[in-house]
């Protein structure tokens, strides 16, 4: 039974005695493979301290800690990840989920130290021998994404459908789209600090994901009583710092806010927000101007039980939101939805009341316990180049107001707009629509001092204006408006080389050699607005302290040097809606503090 072979065959093992050894000669210095997941590296100048690495780490091995030399600023928390190698399992998910791609793993894997606490370190901030190693694990490509970097696209009217009318262009997200977009959020909260109102952005996006839009509305109203409006026209500074935007499209925070507001019916607001009954304090506050800051102050004061009365110069409420922003961006019914809710809290509004004429500030002081003023910036500034006093040269804000009021608006065949901000785009696109209605074609040219890359207008505004056949030719400084009798001939410009000096101060430099002439029969100036304080009496103005930039001086509570007068809105900060909302809110809390102390 036993085969001889079975006895002899095992001896073949002896041939391995003369085989060359396979062991590695110097195992301590063996370099790991290119993709090896070794010790952490972090490019701390790229890192923004968003903390997604911390939230994905299932071992709780990562802490976010302040680091010397890294400053907390917009879009950067100033924190950096610290890794505890007592817990890390080198799975590399922190690398995969890193929004800035700053985190990676080197292929170094030996580290000897006597002090166990040294194995808790901040990669990138504490120098390590592997910091400059090229090899190691990085986020893979080839369609490998742990969250989508691509924004859910928004349905918009085609340029041909929209360029004749003032119908709203942006259609808003469907439920499916909104949930998909909300899903992209990594909940880092970097955006909250940048939002002037410090809205609970991650929370309301989470409410969308959970399909709990009532909760979403409550989060919105915590800090912002005009969500329909902000959901459409907010300057969305939050999106510029969105961590997802570092490698991909930023979250569409503005449209998501609009989605929540759109989906909640106006008649249920009071129930959802639990404002059906409010506890009155018996105190009264007058508010001048029904713009964002006035409405915001009125809303939060009303919630605190104050009886608020708004004095409005024009026949409708909303201020610049109604009289500055064209209907195609912000339809009136949506504007009214937000305003009507605020009015339903018991806020009274008196239209066609000009302070200083129909009633004076001093009288308001007598009738009310405190006064809030948010009269905004309604006086268009002029370039003051020769020819600007010609009757065919207009101010954008005046024209926009007239369009809303239904007054007749002069529309010529060839129009030039000076300005590169959102107001310039608004007037360009409004006039383009009117031209199309009147002449069947568009011949608009908009020029600005700022070159294309630093134009203050929102990027999509510029793109959409061009889609609507307006010409945008930025980077030119106006020299003279050529006129001939009662007719305007056009605008002479020279090339603008730079707008700001090294201290970021306004100091434009021009190249006088490069000239251009834009022919036109009408010129519109839109280079900014100033405030109109003519409603204040001279002796009152003397009591009121101003800051060095000519703005009314206010403290942290938005209280002026006259203790019963609070001020906010574009006069103080901005100009934009969200700053107005934020300081209206803060002023409301300041008024409450002032009146409670009194």
């Amino acid at each position: 039974m036993t085969k001889l072979n079975d006895i002899l065959s095992p001896f073949t093992a002896w041939k391995h005695v003369v085989r060359e050894p396979v062991t590695i000669k110097d195992p301590l210095n063996r370099e790991a493979a290119d993709r090896y997941r070794g010790f952490h590296k972090n490019d701390i100048s790229e890192c923004i301290g968003c903390g997604t690495c911390e939230s994905i780490c299932q071992n709780a091995a990562i802490d976010l800690v302040p680091v010397d030399g890294v400053e907390t600023k917009d879009g950067d928390s100033g924190l950096r990840p610290r890794v505890d190698y007592g817990r890390c399992c080198w799975c590399g998910l922190c690398v995969d989920v890193c929004t800035t791609n700053s985190l990676s793993l080197s292929n170094e894997y030996t580290w000897v130290d006597e002090d166990p606490d040294n194995f808790r370190f901040v990669p990138g901030a504490e120098n390590k021998s592997w910091d400059n190693r090229e090899k190691g694990y990085k986020k893979p490509g080839n369609g490998y994404e742990l969250y989508s970097p691509v924004r859910e696209s928004m349905e918009e009217l085609e340029p041909e459908q929209r360029d004749q009318s003032f119908i709203e262009i942006v259609q808003g997200y469907s439920k499916e789209q909104a949930e998909k977009e909300a899903d992209r959020c990594v909940e880092c909260g970097i955006c909250v600090a940048t939002c002037p109102a410090h809205m609970g952005i991650p929370e309301y996006i989470k409410a969308i994901r959970n399909d709990d839009l009532n909760e979403g509305l409550r989060v919105l109203y915590d800090t912002n009583p005009l969500p329909e409006i902000c959901g459409r026209i907010c300057t969305h500074k939050c999106e510029t710092v969105c961590s997802v935007g570092h490698h991909g499209d930023p979250l569409s925070i503005r449209w998501l806010k609009r989605y929540i507001a759109d989906q909640n019916p106006a008649e249920e607001y009071k129930k959802i927000l639990n404002t059906e009954t409010l506890q009155p304090t018996g105190k009264k506050v007058a508010i001048i101007g029904s713009g964002p800051s006035g409405l915001s102050a009125a809303h939060y004061l009303a919630l605190m039980g104050y009886q608020c009365t708004i004095y409005e110069k024009l026949p409708a409420a909303g201020g610049m939101m109604r009289f500055g922003i064209p209907e195609y961006r912000l339809p009136y019914d949506q504007l009214d939805k937000d305003i009507n809710y605020i009015l339903s809290l018991g806020v009274e509004i008196k239209y066609n009341m000009t302070i200083g004429k129909d009633i004076t500030l001093e009288e308001l002081n007598k009738q009310y316990d405190a006064v809030f003023s948010g009269t905004g910036l309604h006086m268009g500034r002029s370039t003051r180049v020769p020819g600007t006093d010609h009757p065919e040269v207009y101010q954008a804000v005046d024209l926009l107001r007239d369009i809303v009021l239904g007054n007749e608006v002069p529309v010529k065949e060839k129009i030039v707009v000076i300005g590169g901000g959102n107001v310039a785009m608004d007037i360009t696109r409004s006039l383009a629509r009117l031209q199309k209605q009147k002449f069947g074609k568009v011949d608009m040219l908009t020029t600005s001092l700022e070159s294309e890359d630093i134009m203050p207008a929102d990027r999509e505004e510029v793109i959409e204006a061009r889609e609507e056949n307006a010409v945008i030719d930025p980077g030119w400084g106006p020299v003279e408006i050529e006129t001939e009798g009662d007719k305007v001939k056009g605008l002479h410009v020279v090339k603008c080389l730079s707008v700001f000096d090294e201290n970021r101060r306004f100091a434009p430099k021009f190249d006088e050699e490069q000239k251009k002439f834009f022919p036109a029969d009408m010129v519109v100036e839109s280079i900014g607005q100033g405030m109109d304080l003519s409603y204040l009496s001279e002796e009152f103005k003397e009591q009121l302290k101003m800051d060095p930039r000519g703005r009314i001086l206010v403290n942290d509570d938005f209280q002026t040097s006259v203790d019963w007068l609070f001020a906010g809105g574009d006069m103080i900060q901005g100009p934009d809606v969200i700053h107005g909302i934020a300081n209206g809110h803060k002023a409301a809390m300041g008024i409450d503090k002032y009146l409670s102390d009194k």
């Binding site: 095992p10 993709r35 090896y36 590399g92 893979p140 080839n142 994404e145 742990l146 899903d183």
Partner: protein, 396 residues
Amino acid sequence: MSKKLLKWNEDRTLFPEKNSEGKIDVDYDSHKFMKIWHGPQHPGITGNMSLELTLLGDEVMDCETHVGYLHRGFEKLMERRKYIQCFPIVCRVAVPEPDFNEYCFASAMEELAGIEVPEAAEWLRTLVLEMSRLQSFLAWIGGQAGSLGQGIIGQWTIYLRDLILDRFEELTGGRIYHMYMLPGGVRGLLPDGFRERMTQNLDDIDKFMKDVKKVMFDNYVFKKRTVGMGVIDPAWINPFGITGPNARAAGVAKDVRKDNPYLKYPELDFEPVVGKDSDIYTRADVRRRDLLMTVDLIRQIMAKIPDKGDIRAKTPNVLHWKVPAGETYSRAECTRGEYGYYMVSDGTEYPRRINVRGPSYTHAVALLEKMIVNANIADVAGLMVSLHTYPPEIER
């Protein structure tokens, strides 16, 4: 050496008397019995598990398996982790073949979430699973030989296994715990030059396995100690839930890769390896041939695997991925048998329950306790290893 010394003492007159049921009552006070612990030291391939043996002379009268030395409560831990956070811990359920955990977890989750994995990722997963089987078999052969005193085999096969670990290192970034197959896909394409190096390694393995055959399998001592030892009756297969090589050595061609094909196995050409005699020798031989088949499968995969393509499907944001409510079971054929994940989702971001079915669960407890009775104490290690059990997948 007289023949007598090697032989089993068949004279039972010195033994305690059997009772009316034909069994021996264990009475420690009689000083004829001894209780010894086999384990829980980790001698090699059996892991930290212990057998509480009751001996009569050198014969095992009774055995109780004790597990729990590596219990980390993974199933419970996963219930408070988001799905993506389970991914780095599932591999730790089984050291010899972490990838089956990754695959079963990912595929169960993908099934519940309705995710289609890209073609390239499917091939890479197939490759990694087969590589994983290969290195596990290599480690096991060394263990089986070692348990019967043949240290040299272990030195060879652990070297061969290291070659595969080198390939794992360059493909996945890790040697033991690869953390490569995450829900939705995998984490990288083949690196440059991988094919050539892999082909070289496979050739080396083929060459060495010829020597292993000569030194281990065509070995009088090895045969003497394994042929006819530790027979698994084919009738036990279903009552004991036996799967994998343990079942195939008994002539039952059970192989999940054929029975419930997954990944790219339908496109590969193979037949399950079966044996006849179902003893330790046959099981070892089935595993040896299975290993060679795995080498062949890797060659087939290398010929078909694409070099380009997406490696991960589009999935929801992993930081708050809600998997639709439902339950499923996903299985794969590892070297020890059927590996499976039973996953229950309640529609939240956290799994409701995940249950890991490790093949050792049945092999190491019910089956081993039955087979070990009446074995010689010297054969216990060989028998244990021949079932290829691995305790962490029992206690998880």
